[in-house]
Structure formats: C-alpha cells, structure tokens
C-alpha cells in the first residue's frame, strides 16, 4: 500500500530530513522524492510504502500533519488511491 506525502510552504533547512525521520521511525520506506519551487513556494512530494508501518495510517497522517504545523508548513499524507482515481481513467 502506498501513500503520498506533500509538503508545501517556505523553503528552510532540514525539511526533507525531518519528514523522512518520522517515516523511518515508523518503518515507512520512502520510494520517490521530487522537489520543486512553484509560484515561490517550496513543494516536495514523497511516495512512501506504508505496508510495513508500525502504526495505523490515520495515526501517521495526524503525526505528520502536526509536524508540519510545528515547522510552519502544510504537510499532508494521503492514500495513493485518491490521486489515482481522480487523475487516471
């Protein structure tokens, strides 16, 4: 099962490190990362494998959103299916 983590906000040092640290803590493997600057905003998208995670996905999602709030960033973890169903026929 895969999920998408999106990070949107002002670019600072250590965003990738902090987000991946939370993933590692819960045995969530990061399979792909893309970073870009869109309309002056830092945007990072991570594909992660949540099948071996040690916490339910809803818990992880809350944790990562809270981390984002602490860093002043908008961080969301969402199940991959939502993007697949909306953007692929």
């Amino acid at each position: 099962m895969r999920a998408v983590i999106t990070v949107i906000g002002k670019d600072t040092v250590g965003i990738l490190a902090k987000v991946s640290a939370v993933c590692a803590e819960h045995n969530i493997n990061v399979s792909e990362v893309t970073q870009s600057i869109l309309q002056d905003l830092f945007v990072m998208i991570m594909m992660v494998d949540i099948s071996k995670s040690d916490v339910p996905f809803t818990r992880f999602s809350e944790e990562i959103t809270a981390l984002g709030e602490k860093m002043g960033l908008s961080v969301h973890a969402m199940h991959e299916d939502i993007f697949n169903s909306m953007h692929r026929i």
Binding site: V4, T6, I8, E32, T34, S36, L38, V43, I45, M47, F57, T58, S61, E62, S74, H76, A77, M78, H79, E80, D81, I82, F83, N84, S85, M86, H87
Partner: protein
C-alpha cells in the same frame, strides 16, 4: 509516479476550494420491523437502525483521515415511516419520530430521513396520520427529516395532499417559530421523489431498495468555479461545458472511491453516487458564483436559466462516466439560504421567486430553502407546491418545495438556521389568492407522454 501537478491540483481542491464528500447515507429498510403493537414496532425500529449503523460514523471518519477527504455528513435514510405505521393498531407517529431521533443520536449521525409518506395517488392507512403529525414530530426532534411525495409523472398530482401540505408547512413553522421556524428546513414536498436520494431533507429508503445500502452524495461548487476562473473570461460556452465536465468527472471519481471503500468496510452493498453540486453557506462554495463566473453580473439576471441548464447537464455528463451507478437527485442544487451567492442575490433583489421557479425546470430539485413572509396563507404555500409539482410532473423530473414561512417576519427581515442550512432574507411573494383553486381538491391527471411541446 503520479504527476506532481495532479497531486497539487487535488490538494488545492480540498484545501482552498472546499472539495468534499457531502454525505455518506446508509439506507435501511424497516419493512421487517412492522408490528400491530406500537411499542414493539418502535423497539424493533430502534434495534435495527442501531445494529446496522453502529459503525457508520467511525468508518466515515476513518476514510476521511486515510484519504484526506472531508466527509461532512454521515446520515441514515429509512423506509417511509407511513408504511411502517400502516400495520400498527393504535397509530402514534410522533412516538416513531422520537424513536428515530434516539436511534440517530445513538449512532452519532447528522440526520435521519424517512419520516415520509408517498401519497401521489391517494392516502393509504398511516399516510394521513403521519402527515398530520409532522409539525409536532419536527418540533420535538432535532435530527429527523420529513418528506411527502404528492405527485408523479405517472400518477398526476394529488391536490388534496397539496392542500393539506400547505397547512402542514405553516403549522410546522408556527410550532418552531422560537427557533427561526427551523422545522420547515427539515420538511420537503416532492413530485417524482427518488427512492435512493442521499441528500436531506428528502432522503428516504424506497420500497424497491435492498435491505441496506450505501449511497454517497458528492459536492464541489467551489472546484468548478475555480476551474472556470482559471480558464479566464474569453473561452466560449462549448469550452465552459467541457471544463465543467472534466471537473465533475474528478469530483465524482472521489465520491465513487469513498462509496466503494465505505461499502467494503461496512460489508454493505454500494447503491449509487449522487452527482450533485451541493453548495454550503461558506464563501467559495456557491453554485450562484459559478453562474456569475460564467458571465452573469448577478445570479437571477436574465440568462441565469440558460447558464444553469448548461451547468446541470455538464455535471451529469462528467459524472456519469466516473461512477458505476448513478442516482438520487444528481444535478446542481439551488437552495437559497445554503448558498452565499444566492443569499446575496436575494438580498439585493436580483434573484426572485419567479426566476427560481424557472431555474427549477432545468436543474436538480426545486424551490429549496426559501424564506417567505410569515403571514403567507396556507393556500398560497399549497399553490407554490402545485406549480412546482406541475413542472416536475410534465418534465418527468424530480421537483420539490422546501419553503420556510418566517412567522412574525416580513420581506427583507432575515432567518438564521446555522450550520449547513445557513440563513437569509425573507423573499417577496405574489400575493394574489389561489384559494378557490386549491380548495377544489381532487387530482390533476397524469400528463401525456407524447406530443411534446
């Protein structure tokens, strides 16, 4: 990997444009709860609802967190209560309404619909008792919603029921006058009522439905408006229709995913996705603003009916391919007090009842959430219902009336219901009397289905 822009588009839709799933509605048949004893019936009704729906809210919340999609309401619809009441010897329909209220509270749902009667051709045992009790039932409960079907394309219009409903709507407003007449916001009068509608106040679980079913209603006027704004003011209406179709497709795919997932987790068959653009009073979630984005100065101006017809049709075309089963009301909703743009248009006098009536001929539902003067006589309300039912009957579509007589208030004063029901100004009515026409009673015969003109 999924395209970055697609991911960001979805996030923007949810974060900034109010994309949400409006409701997961569990339809439950109560036909096996009938008993000649009133108390036994109530006990069975309570048991069945709480047994079937005990995990509904929790499952909805889990899906919400996992997929990151807000699911605003979790609701229950049941078999029209008049059918259940028919079997009881001493009919006490308010008791059943209170039972539904308790069951709704026990399950934690936002609304329970189905305090309903289907009387398009006439009254059967239980129907009249139920209808007479609606004012009391809606005054003593908070979550119960009521609907009455008074006409259909196949049966014509039951004008005795229309006359009765005018009085019932007034009484319901009077009974809840201290709460801004909120009872009437939970009461809708239908022509051609759908049996699988997940939206309140008109949801009920039709007799042809399975024992239990999951129906989902999507939303997203804000997303459609934003997509049109992005395209700019110079694309022609063919392009506008195309943009709406594509957006509706995406919105509906999300609804389909939620419906499938809820159905799997609860172990209950998936019924339909209702392809609807349902506004909320929140800024940026308005159907009127879509029409204005298309180029109208204000919703209600000449051109509104044409713009709405385009919107409604494009939403259906986009949505149909995105879902395996489509049903319910499926179309754009125009509830005045629930739509920020409509509220403004009504306040400034651009949007009037006559225009709204025309709009209902080309879109989903009908005269919805309209505050009318508190001194409106019952027969005028009946006549509004009759006009609206005639539009539905002749055009083979669902129409409905949900008007709120603002007891003690006049044109320009406001009612406020709070939450999704919103609030807005009292709108002026044509005050010439239809009393003699309504007093005739009887039935308007079913219309011809050929020689269409």
């Amino acid at each position: 990997m999924i395209n970055t822009n697609d991911i960001l588009e979805t996030i923007t839709m949810i974060q900034d444009e109010n994309l949400d799933v409006r409701t997961i509605t569990m339809g439950i048949s109560l036909l096996d709860c009938c008993d000649s004893d009133m108390d036994k019936t109530c006990a069975r009704v309570y048991d069945k609802i709480t047994r079937y729906a005990k995990d509904l809210v929790r499952t909805g919340e889990d899906i919400e967190k996992e997929y990151g999609i807000p699911i605003i309401n979790k609701r229950i619809s049941v078999t029209p209560i008049a059918m259940i009441l028919a079997a009881c010897e001493r009919k006490d329909s308010v008791k059943l309404a209170v039972t539904l209220e308790k069951a709704a509270q026990a399950c934690g749902v936002n609304f329970i619909g189905g305090f309903s009667a289907l009387v398009q051709k006439g009254f059967s045992p239980g129907d009249r008792e139920l209808i007479e009790s609606i004012p009391e039932a809606l005054a003593v409960t908070d979550h119960v919603c009521s609907s009455v079907n008074i006409g259909s394309t196949k049966a014509g219009i039951n004008m005795d029921a229309v006359g009765l409903m005018g009085r019932i709507v007034r009484q319901t407003a009077e009974r809840t006058a201290d709460q801004d007449c909120i009872g009437c916001a939970k009461l809708v009068v239908f022509c051609n009522a759908p049996e699988d509608n997940p939206f309140m106040a008109g949801a009920f679980h039709g007799a042809g439905e399975p024992d239990c079913v999951i129906n989902v209603g999507v939303s997203g006027p804000g997303v459609v408006r934003a997509a049109l704004a992005k395209a700019g003011g110079y694309c022609d209406l063919t392009a506008v229709a195309d943009i709406i179709k594509k957006t509706a497709f995406k919105i509906t795919r999300m609804g389909q995913l939620v419906a499938r997932e809820a159905s799997r987790r609860l172990g209950i068959p998936f019924g339909i996705v209702d392809l609807s653009l349902a506004p909320t009073p929140a800024v940026g979630d308005s159907v009127a603003h879509i029409l204005e984005e298309m180029g109208l100065e204000c919703c209600g101006a000449h051109g509104t009916t044409a713009a709405l017809a385009l919107l409604n049709d494009a939403v259906k075309k986009g949505g149909v391919m995105a879902s395996s089963h489509v049903g319910g009301l499926s179309g754009a909703f125009i509830p005045v007090t629930e739509d920020a743009g409509m509220i403004d248009a009504a306040r400034c006098g651009c949007l009037r009842l006559e225009k709204l009536e025309a709009m209902t001929a080309v879109c989903s539902v009908g005269l919805d959430m309209i505050n009318i003067p508190g001194d409106t006589p019952a027969e005028v309300i009946s006549a509004i219902i009759a006009d609206e039912a005639a539009i539905g009957m002749v055009n083979s579509k669902t129409t409905a009336v949900r008007v709120i007589p603002a007891i003690g208030k006049g044109v320009g004063e406001e009612l406020s219901f709070g939450g999704l029901l919103g609030g807005g100004p009292v709108m002026p009515l044509n005050t010439w009397s239809p009393a003699k026409f309504i007093a005739r009673g009887g039935r308007i015969p079913a219309p011809m289905q050929s020689l269409k003109n």
